[in-house]
Amino acid sequence: MKLTSHMRKLALGATALSSLALLGTALPAAAAIKGPIKIGVIGEASSVAGAAIINASKLAAENINAHGGINGHKVEVITYDDHSSASDAVSAFKRLATQDKVDAIVGSYMSEVVLALEPWAARLHMPYISPGAASTKIPLQVHEHYNQYKYTFQGWLNSAFLAQSVCDFTKDVFVDKYHMKTTVIMSEDAAWTAPLDATYKKCLPKVGVKVLDEIRFNPDTSDFTPIFNKIEGLHPDFITTGISHVGVRPTVQWHDQQVPLAMTGISSQASTSTFWKDTNGAAEGVLTQTGATPTVAITPKTIPFAKAYAKAYGDSPSYVGYAAYDDVHVIADAIKRANSTNPDKIVSAMEKTDYVGTVGRIQYYGKDSIYAHGLKYGKGLVTGLFIQWQDGKQVAVWPDKLADGKIKFPSFVKLPTATH
């Protein structure tokens, strides 16, 4: 009995010891990566930009897996359609976190939707990045409530930087080359255009352009004649746009009515290759800031991605597509460096991101910046570029080192002085 009891004790001790030993090895293993890495993707499948989020994320996962996955683990993408509705997006987000148990989420290009998701990323401790939403409120919330909101990242330039790049372009091209001096701002009424217009109004005068008026219109507007009529009545040299939800209608009506003013600024839909077909070529001469184009090698990754995208889906990724592709890679890179799927570890690894993507060198602002976790803007990082639609093609026209063509305006556009 004694012996057996002793033996039992021994056995127990051994089991305890061995389980402790097992635990010892198991603990870090549990915090490290187990099974495939799941990334949730939310986008509106029936909009050009939303479809680009879904398509580009899938391509990114394929690319990562083709290169051996993340530390040997495959990447899986789980997608949901949010119909660009905040409540659908929140349900998808919760489902991805609680049922699909994803490790991070990429989703939505609409600021209104992203602002609704941000608190959920905080509550569910879910690393989340938006590939297109530009409102400055998104990073501001991260800055003000860092401990709760640190899970959200902004994967594309915020409105203040978008406006700044428009001003930089305006200075180099419209002011210096074409001697234009006055403009009217024409923006859709949306969360992302409030900081955009505010920056326009600050930075345009600094580059020597007087803002005659700011016209904000309802994104549901179908007839733009009264708006163009009002703008023409103010006699500006050009129009500065802030449009994304709308694009086809103002462009076609500008062309059909032969509004004699050049249009520049942000016209997100003009960044997609289908825009030419959607407008029956009325896009001729339209200028917009965008992330990348299929023909300009901003980095060695830009053109191969655009080619792969065109091969798989038949058109070019919109600015959101490039950003979503990079975002999935940034998450994968962070998980690889953290060697963990722990959300806090992913977040701190993402904060240290220094990754060359398709749109440039990607880094994020720190928590002390009002743009905390927002994509850094600047030379050598991400600046975006300006394209102009010419004869069915997107031609890069600015900055000079990325340009593959020269600016040309349709014959109905009147320029203040003929310098060319």
Binding site: A45, S46, S47, D223, P226, V248, D256, Q257, T274, N280
Partner: protein, 291 residues
Amino acid sequence: MVAIQILIDGFVISALYGLGAIGFTLIFGVTGVLNLAHGGIMVIAALVGWYAANQFGLDPYAAAAVGVLAGMIAAFITYFVVIRPIQQSRTIPSDETEIFILTGTLLWGVMIQEGLAYLFSDNPVTMKPLLPGVVYILGDRTPINEIMIGILCWVVIGLLWLVVYRTKIGKPLLAASENPRALGLLGFEMSRIYLFSWAIYGILAGVAGVLLASFLGVSSASAGSLTASAFSIVVLGGLGSVWGSLIAAYVVGYLETITAYLISPQLRPIPALIVLVLVVYLRPQGILGRR
């Protein structure tokens, strides 16, 4: 020159509204159906026409014809798949048929909208102008296409008048809207009259959709608002009254245009909606309504 611009723009917008609403009111007058898939049918015509132009390189007129044909086919499908089975159902009590048709066409409209969004995305598309270029009318720069659209709308409305008042095949339509039972007793084949009115309806909705796509652009998301706009114009004009609808279309069209030009484009639909509310309060039968 804002006055001239308001005059021209208001005229064309109103003509388009009128053309869109006239089919809606005709089909109600003749067959008693309030077709809440109306906007969807207009959008089908526009998107199919646009697609045909892009895919097969058709010229704007051929593409418009394809679009109108698609509108007519969509109207027939609406009738045969959604409306007739409800009208002939023995399990639906006859006094509830109208409510079932209302619900059926509403759901059908949603299905059309979602289906089109899936196939074509919800991005607006525009068809090529029938005539490109601009003309100056008293110093006001107007696209030739816009004037052409205004004229075409009235040509189609004129043709409809000719068919209904001057042809043997059209006159029974008028009679059916007055008293369908008497017409049946006189030995007219009601099913043929219904078929004919759905064909006319499809053409009207198709032309309106195609012209709208060439003027302002159309997307799958437009379906709901197009139905709502036709519905409110028809209520304002008096349900079933073609002339009432035309007058109402001009009231709404000009009110919207004046608001957009002189007050703010953002407030565009508001005054017309206020007028609609007032009419429902003060004259529920509408401008030219019979009851």
